[in-house]
Amino acid sequence: MATTLNKKDLINIFIRSNFLLGSFNFERMQAIGFCVSLLPALRKLYKGEELAASMKRHLEFFNTQPFLATPIMGITAAMEEKKANGVDISEATLSGVKVGLMGPLAGVGDPIFWGTLRPVLAALGAGIALTGSIAGPLIFFLVFNAIRLATNWYGVMYGYEKGTELVSEMDGNKMRFLTEGSSVLGLLVMGALVAKWTTVNMPLVLSEYTNSQGEHVVTTLQTILDSLMPGIVPLLMTFACMYLLKKGVNPLLIILGLFAIGILGYWIGLFA
């Protein structure tokens, strides 16, 4: 049965790709989601026994960064199309391509989307939201989703168009450049956020006197810290958290610990 996929099928895959993680489970993770995303293509290409076999092979374990699963969907759709039209592509090849791509793509996608894009947009939006302005949530929601939808769309389309060509393009240096480049950007912004988007105020009075001009001079812990290195307290707190997280401490426990420090500090007058 020689059939080809058209734009409508690819749009259908794109729409379904937005629900990839819906049935995430601890056994095969995104497997059902991947199969359901590919179903429009499979239904068109195969009938009967062949259709059942194609469904089965796409219910195999699958897990990657959800937005970057889309090029894998595109490539797989292109390969299934060739297979249905008589090109000799084995099941092992198909699953090899999927497994081979999901690791590297997660490696690129996690620092870009979860490490850089979302925290930066969320911090920007949250900062505006603290003033009570609707612009905060709107900026976060609209910008993030515009980039996400574009990624999903071009992922499916480009993946299908390029097919297996993309596989060879993806290994090697380009992926490394992309990962490290986005990590550079993400870390630089994180450094800025540690300094800018944290508030620590230590009004603990260390000395108080009236100088020769009759001015009342108050030196607090905060004024001393600010004259040495502003932002040093949140910086040290960040390093402490990184250390504890690396030791495997549950982040919620760290948050509770910081709350305890805040309450205790407020109670004894260290923080305000």
Partner: protein, 270 residues
Amino acid sequence: MTSLQFILLIVVAAIAGMGSVLDECQFHRPLVACTLVGLVLGDVTTGIILGGTLEMLALGWMNVGAAMAPDAALASVISAILVIVGHQSIGAGIALAVPLAAAGQVLTIFVRTITVFFQHLADKFAAKGNGFGIEMCHLGGLLLQALRVAVPAAAVAAVAGTDTVSAMLDSIPEVITRGLQVSGGFIVVVGYAMVINMMNAKSLMPYFFLGFLVAVFTNVNLIGFGAIGLICAYFHIKGLQRDIAAQNAGPAAGGSTGNALDDIDDSDLM
């Protein structure tokens, strides 16, 4: 609360629950979920401010690989209901959010385990070539995630305005709520630490310090930092290309490989 508000609230909670597993549209993030709850309950400003506060708290909560983050969906929806309907402070909202996030995490792990059943059901449908059945298994998992937030939210919304609940929340001493608000100023460091650890790139830490120092001593805004970051990334990649070219060239081959690499279109890399 009118019955229309009650129904809309459950819809928002269900969408947030689905968002927490899908992780696509970000309806489960406090910034979005709290705003929507505020919109439904007629106090959008409180919803936005609580959302911004909790977003800082949850900045580093992300699902990477198989690891489960604390659950922002349940925490956002229920603390927003209690703060807005029960007339509580933002500090009380923070106090409620953390245990709720832990409870939500347990619930989502539970649901993701139950969904293994749908996985095996899907195998049976696949053997018969029944695509519709597989689609229903997919939907089943998604609906369970919607329910796990919608049901607790409905239960809380039903009792939120009552005197008993208000009395309970009012009994939280001021030193706790004020102290929590103070902690709210720096609790975000946990999120920063999670993000930095996830990048797992010790050799790139100088860029982190550069960002920190520029932020401390200048007034550059976030857009400016984005631009500086892009320039740094450009030069970092240039350096990497040179290193790789030098490695490939080895002692014998000389500079020809370097030229070939320079031909790579840099615009692809950004």
